[in-house]
């Protein structure tokens, strides 16, 4: 799978294997998340996967109290934008914190990636969702 094309579909397939990956340009080494097919720096086609450490720091966060229809059952929950150690950034849910105590969540705090199974209508339709926990 790591040799597959750096599409958004394959990103999810890698997540299902519990691998968090970004796309990397083999010519200029630019690292891109979300993954891209064309290098954002030199525009060359043929980027490749690079697995990420999953370690990062909180850039900003919010607690969603009023959610959209699809996610209404989960509220309140925490959404964070994280800066990963590799210098890229990602939006994800933060678990393992009390959503009713925003004062306990700090910008700059360290977090680590984890993977959560979201059950589908049948076992083969379950997908893995990327989540983060306090480090």
């Amino acid at each position: 799978m790591m040799s597959s094309e750096t599409t958004i579909l394959n990103y999810q397939a890698l997540l299902n294997e519990k691998k968090l990956c970004a796309a990397e340009c083999p010519s200029c080494n630019t690292l891109m998340f979300p993954p891209r097919l064309f290098c954002a720096n030199c525009f060359r086609r043929g980027t490749r996967w690079k697995e990420l450490s999953g370690r990062g720091k909180i850039r900003s966060f919010t607690i969603i109290h009023i959610a959209s229809a699809t996610h209404a059952a989960d509220a309140p929950f925490v959404i964070v934008i994280l800066g990963l150690a590799e210098g890229i950034s990602i939006t994800a849910r933060l678990v393992g914190v009390d959503p009713l105590k925003p004062e306990d969540i700090k910008i700059g705090a360290s977090v680590v990636a984890d993977f959560e199974e979201i059950p589908g209508t049948s076992p083969d339709q379950s997908v893995t969702r990327l989540i983060f926990r306090p480090a």
Binding site: S60, T62, I63, I64, H65, A69, T70, T91, I107, R129
Partner: protein
Amino acid sequence: MTDPKDRVAVIGIGQTKFGEQWDKSIRRITLTAAGACLVDAGVSGVDIDGLYVSNTSTSSFSKQEHQAALAADSGGLLPIASTEVEAACASGGVAVRHAYMAIKSGEHKVVMVVGCEKMSDISEREIAETLMSAADREWEGQIGATFPALFALLARRHMVHYGTTDEQLAAVPVKAHANAVNNPYAQFRFKIGIDQVLRSALVADPLRVFHCAPISDGAAALILCRGDLVEKFSGEPIWINASTQASDTLALHSRPHLTTFRAVKSAAKQAYAKAKVEPKDLDVIEIHDSFSIGEIIATEDIGLVEKGQGGPAIEEGYTAMDGEKPVNPSGGLKAKGHPVGATGIAQVGEIVEQLRHTAGERQIEGAQIGLALNLGGTGSTAVIHILNKE
């Protein structure tokens, strides 16, 4: 002085009252605004040779695509060239820019721009879902982020970085409501207090219900005219001296800074250069305050105040009606209402009223130059118009 033939003026404005209008169809709302606009401009339908229509999601809100053709038809403007543009909440501003370019190209002479949105036909959670599709579904929507949440992320970062306070955020809707009292088209014509804002329910921490623009139905229209033809019509012309647009990544996490809108800075810089004005020359400003933090960041990014001073500025009344730089005399999106596709057009409409000196009790005395900033998504699109009385 530029040849009038190379200039573009707004010669007519019209809008419906914003708010919930279950009893009126989207056609009726659109026609009401368009009709008012024709009367204001002293233009008849046969004079119009181009139509630009803006809305965000009639397919989801009203199960209707191809809104441009529908508007041409129900407006009696057939067989006019009619195009719909979409750029989320910036659809209206982008439509104005397309009309401006169409006239500048020589292809059209008198163009109508009309924006409409009817949001209240579906449930609030469905609306949230639809609006969220203007953010990056793959990286933001799927994990449950909402639009208030994305702006909350900006707000949190701004608070930590610049010391912006809950009270400063709350001052934005308080000012908006105070201004809307004098706007007959506004959805909420009543004052609110800081305490009310701070006590309202949390939507996405730190943003509360009163930090968010409401769900609204409504339409707004403008008529733009080539400069050498304005004498033919009775509407007082207000000149468009700059029309600029810029974009940024759809997903917030792809941006290096979470306290600024790069697209706004870029569009503003280009607009000031084109119009040959500076922020200090502006007499009246309409800004996209879909969430209160949006107004604070935007006042900084268009250069009204230094970076990080947006919070103190609102708190000290710098942007109030009687302040140095009045922002959102209309009541803004928060209190005037925010039928997304109509917003950018109504903003330009407000500037035109102010520069014509016909804004009644909310008139800013002697206003000569105004700016309208319309934002799409979380600042993925920014459109700026600078208008001048001369």
